[in-house]
Amino acid sequence: MYRNFFRSNKRSCLLLLVTVAVLLAATGCSVTLISAYDEQIDHSATTLQKEMDTFLTSIETAPDSVSGSYEHNRGFYSGYGVELRGLLVRAQSHDKNELSTKQIELMADNLEELRKSHASGPLTPEAVGVYRNLFNQGWGAILKLELAKKRVL
């Protein structure tokens, strides 16, 4: 029924579409479907990526030592969690930023999984390499999306 309507009224529909486009263009409107780029989120994500990489690399080189143990590194997990929640609050403050917000929530879950892993026993150097790759890839995804939001004005 609708297909016949549009076929028989193709010219009217096109006219309506073009009229809307002209009105939008006339008011200087552009369409925004996703939030604007946030330099602070860019910098924070970059910093958090480096902090996690540094932490995992330090664990990798001393897995069975005191310095590599979970007990010795409890503070890292709580501090990193605070920084992540700060980033989440900032991302949530933007309209149309649900995708980035969800990515940061997933990163918070990854931190908790890493914490549980570490609390359950020493992390072998081989395992640390895989954790590091995944965390770096996650941060890479977050940064890729944030940088893509830079618009050419």
Binding site: A21, V22, L33, L99, E113, S120, E126, V130
Partner: protein, 109 residues
């Protein structure tokens, strides 16, 4: 002014199509590259488990982290797609402004 619909629709469609053609390959290339990395990570996790380099909690956590990372990548692909659509719509709107101004012989929009 004598502006015809085809003088607006045609450049709109062309501008939108060109914009999408430029943006979509970037999302596709990114997705391909990242999926390869994720596949390798899954192989690495299986190897860790097989060689006893992780305990059961660590194996479970690694798989959850892998799942979350896959979702993070997919969200970026989704975002790149949305940005591509936004760019295409705005390119089409710009072509309307340009077409109207050309027909009028002066920048009225």
């Amino acid at each position: 002014m004598g502006l015809k619909i085809s003088e607006l629709v045609t450049p709109m469609l062309a501008a939108g199509k060109d914009s999408l053609a430029a943006d979509w390959p970037k999302a596709k290339d990114y997705a391909n590259q990242e999926f390869k990395k994720l596949a390798q990570s899954l192989v690495d996790i299986a190897k860790l488990v097989a060689e006893g380099k992780v305990n059961s909690q660590q194996a479970k956590s690694l798989l959850q982290i892998h799942k979350n990372t896959t979702q993070q990548v997919l969200l970026t692909v989704q975002g790149l797609g949305i940005i591509a659509v936004e760019n295409a719509i705005n390119a089409a709107l710009k072509s309307v402004r340009d077409a109207v101004n050309r027909a009028a012989g002066v920048a009225i929009l």
